[in-house]
Amino acid sequence: MARVREKTIQASKFNIVLTPHTSEKYINLFNAAFVLQRSIQYHGSEHLLFAEINTAKLSENIISGHFFLYTDFNIDLSWLNIEKRNYASTDELKSIYIPEGLRPNARKFNFVFFVKNHLLVIETRNQSGNQLNATYLESALEKLFKLAKIVDDTVDVTSYKESSKIQEIYNWKRLKSISIYIKIPNPDTPSGEHDIERDFRIRNQHTLKFEAKALPKKI
């Protein structure tokens, strides 16, 4: 019997916040983002395309699907002949033909969205070893969802941060400065964060910045 090798994927979690906030709105947001059929710049010439959405498990509050990352380019830009180490000649340019709709360097990344908790999980390292940067992804997804957003709603995408890094901050022997940026939480954010959520609502805030600096060290 063939031995089954084990591979490892890596994923990041993203908190999607829609205001106002209902399950139906989140489902509509994902459908709108898919129907939009727009590529979003991910980083440099790399683009992200929302390629498939699967709502078969919607009764379990789950949407799944996948994105593609690919390299986009303008075919009309100057071409280099790397053998001659010079611009490609007009004759050489005539041999270039790339069919409309084809782009190179395609990489597929699966996702699953838990509607009830508005939690998006995306592969950041797929089986082929291709990687996504969660920070770039956060920005690209926010652009995509803002384009797809339902009128009058605000949408925020925030990647979950490493708890260990927060713990490191708690463990400072001497904290010199700290700045904390918090976006408006989901209305149903559980335990302990209700005060923040309540403050956001009362003051009609979207973002809070908390900043503290230590006194100079005495010698």
Binding site: K161, I166, N171, R174, S179, E193, I196
Partner: protein, 56 residues
């Protein structure tokens, strides 16, 4: 409370002297949580993440 809230709704930037005596800067913005999941169906390019993650 604010620092914990930043884990899922924002980020934090800090400078300070760590327990080992070295001064450092930390920005949690550049430290997204990553989860490693071993899988066995290596021939299947469509991984169903539902098998590996739940909504809690």
């Amino acid at each position: 409370m604010y620092l914990m809230a930043s884990e899922r709704n924002g980020y934090a930037e800090a400078t300070g002297e760590f327990l080992d005596g070295f001064a450092r800067k930390i920005s949690t913005k550049t430290k997204p949580a990553q989860f490693r999941v071993p899988i066995q169906n290596e021939d299947d390019t469509t991984i169903d993440l539902r098998h590996y993650f739940s909504d809690d």
